[in-house]
């Protein structure tokens, strides 16, 4: 689905900074440092990046679920949902948004379900909290949701405990829990990472189907470019707590501009271009307590030169909706000079 530029964003994230105070005075971990993006109604926005780049903290920050302390969201950050800044919302109003308007599914279906309650109880909970359904009505709703997410024998499964279900089933239950109140935004934090490949495909197809049926926007957080290619409309690439590139999915895969995106794409094994060795980005993500000065990718970048000591803003990269935090946009000839 393409997004007309005229529709107002459903979720606007601006200058989000979430820092963590580390113990023993080792300094402040700037896990999310000045992140901005928009989520439009009905679209799927992918957020990609390797482990430790701040994807999960970004998603937790949206619903203010970052543990405080040690974490805190800095003043000046804005997370606007339908015109209201969630970061300034009093607790009761925030709770009315959580699970009801913005819902979330987590990476680990094994540990994200409460082991001592039946799946029916857990799916019903959100409906009881937000819609004040009776237990009987909530149970009927839970069965209906189980059917919606494609679990066979929902009348029987509703009374099962999480440990009686397989990983794929549990992730379906998590999705059912999140969607009970028909939220407008679904944040899916690595929804398929803990599952094996065939189940992954099923879960992602399920998400696609439900998104169309319920008309919600999905924030798909993943480190898997394959997932993004198949399911996201637009992509935000994060590196070291920053957004380094934003583009419509097709454009990003055709013409990655940021050297980090380029490296990520090159390190995906491809079936159509046989190659002896898989490409790897040299080095690793630096510690969040000590990001490099200037462009944060500079120490690992094959093109880095003096200008990179100064960090660029997100620059227009020659196509609508495509921005990149890299000087190569202004000096494309530098791309020929590799270190």
């Amino acid at each position: 689905m393409t997004t007309p530029a005229t529709t107002p964003a459903l979720l606007r994230v601006r200058d989000l900074k979430t820092y963590f105070v580390t113990e023993h005075g080792k300094g402040t971990a700037r896990a999310v440092d000045d992140v901005s993006f928009d989520l439009y109604p009905g679209e799927t926005l992918g957020i990609v990046g390797e482990s430790g780049c701040g994807k999960t903290v970004t998603s937790l920050s949206i619903l203010r679920l970052v543990p405080e302390p040690p974490g805190h969201i800095l003043p000046g950050s804005v997370i606007e949902f339908e015109g209201r800044n969630l970061l300034a919302l009093p607790a009761p109003e925030l709770r009315a948004v959580r699970g009801n308007q913005i819902a979330m599914i987590f990476q680990e279906p094994m540990t994200s379900l409460n082991p001592v309650f039946t799946v029916g109880d857990q799916i019903a909970e959100s409906a009881i909290i937000h819609q004040h359904l009776t237990r009987r009505a909530a149970r009927a709703r839970a069965i209906e949701m189980l059917r919606l997410v494609g679990i066979p024998d929902p009348e029987e499964r509703v009374d099962h405990y999480p440990h009686q279900l397989s990983g794929g089933m549990r992730q379906r239950v998590m999705i059912a829990m999140a969607l009970v109140c028909h939220p407008k935004v679904l944040i899916a934090d690595e929804p398929t990472t803990a599952l094996d490949v065939t189940i992954q495909a099923q879960i992602l197809e399920l998400l696609d189907r439900l998104q169309q049926e319920l008309g919600m926007a999905v924030l798909l957080i993943t480190h898997d470019l394959g997932v993004v290619a198949g399911h996201a409309d637009r992509v935000v690439v994060m590196y070291a707590g920053r957004v380094v590139e934003t583009a419509p999915t097709q454009r990003l895969f055709d013409q990655p501009t940021h050297p980090y995106t380029e490296g990520l794409l090159a390190s995906v094994p491809r079936i159509d271009t046989p190659r002896a060795r898989l490409h790897a980005i040299p080095g690793q993500v630096p510690a969040a307590t000590a990001w490099p000065s200037g462009c944060r990718f500079r120490p690992r970048c094959p093109y880095a030169w003096e200008k990179c000591l100064e960090e660029p803003d997100l620059l227009e990269a020659g196509s609508p909706g495509h921005t990149t935090r890299c000087w190569l946009v202004t000096e494309p000839e530098r791309r020929q000079v590799k270190r």
């Binding site: 009315a96 959580r98 409460n114 082991p115 001592v116 909970e125 405990y161 998590m174």
Partner: protein, 308 residues
């Protein structure tokens, strides 16, 4: 013992066995409760507890004599067990069986209520400290440190010195309010680890408020240690009440409690051992039965226990 007392005792026994059997039967139809009776000891525990509770409630029926009556201070003191006095008489010629039956009311009542107060308070304090951490934790846990450092018996002695004889309710409160420290530490440790679990974040993401998160998501996962500590707590409170009575500051005489029966019999331990043997046996029976039931409950409440 008259015929009526034997009859009442027999009815109590049958009733207790029937309660245990019925519970077992009902449980067999419900998946998770079936595991409660996986071990035979649980049925025995429930049966014994039911029997003692019935005895306590039906004390006037099963006891042949009023508990305080001195039946014949000259020729009936320290009478060994016989058909008339099935558990013998004590140094004041009171019927030990009658005193145990009446004493069950006081002992079981204080045990159950005292443990209830202690475990509720301990759970509440422990859960708050573990969930809110920071200054709440520091404040509450330093308080607990102080509570654990003070010898409990001295606090109780002090209270008795201040208020003379404590009425039943005050005794329950006094015991309950000085017995929760251990439970609170246990619950705090459990909550500290549970609050970091993913499903707690998931519950908050669903819009659940703090109270709901603590009571519906965190505490049920800590049910096992809480229940075990409650069951052990009843036994501890029972023993504490016994030692208080032994020191002469428990239940006001001539009202019997199991502790005070032992205290009264202590002086004749060599000449009339039945005066301390039987109340001691009653206390041990309760504590052992509670342990057996706690074990069954632990298995029933933990859904991760595989059905066998």
């Amino acid at each position: 013992m008259k015929l009526g007392n034997w009859l009442a005792l027999f009815v109590a026994l049958v009733l207790a066995a029937e309660i245990a059997r019925l519970l077992r039967q009902r449980a067999a139809q419900h998946g998770r409760w079936r595991r409660l009776f996986r071990h035979r000891t649980t049925s025995w525990g429930i049966g014994i507890l039911a029997f003692l509770v019935i005895i306590a409630l039906a004390a006037p029926l099963v006891a042949p004599f009023p508990p305080g009556d001195q039946l014949g201070i000259v020729d009936l003191k320290n009478h060994p067990p016989s058909w008339t006095f099935i558990l013998g008489t004590d140094v004041l010629s009171r019927d030990v069986w009658s005193r145990i039956a009446w004493g069950a009311r006081v002992s079981l009542g204080i045990g159950a209520l005292g443990a209830l107060v202690a475990v509720s308070l301990g759970t509440l304090v422990g859960a708050s400290a573990g969930y809110y951490r920071r200054w709440v934790d520091a404040l509450l846990m330093r308080g607990v440190d102080v509570g654990l450092a003070l010898p409990r018996i001295f606090i109780l002695l002090m209270m008795v010195a201040l208020w003379d004889r404590l009425p039943f309710a005050a005794l329950v409160l006094a015991i309950g309010l000085t017995s929760w420290f251990g439970t609170s530490r246990l619950v705090r440790a459990e909550v500290l680890s549970l609050r970091e679990r993913d499903f707690v974040v998931a519950a908050r993401a669903l819009g659940a408020e703090t109270g709901r998160v603590i009571f519906r998501h965190v505490l049920p996962n800590a049910a096992t240690p809480i229940i075990v500590s409650a069951a052990l707590g009843v036994g501890n409170v029972l023993l504490l009440e016994a030692s208080l009575s032994f020191l002469g500051i428990g239940v006001a005489p001539p009202d019997p409690s199991w502790g005070s029966i032992i205290a009264d019999g202590a002086s004749t331990i060599y000449t009339a051992p039945w005066t301390i043997l039987f109340p001691g046996l009653a206390i041990s029976l309760v504590v052992m039965s509670l342990n057996a039931v706690a074990d069954g409950l632990r298995q029933a409440l933990d859904p991760r226990e595989e059905m066998a």
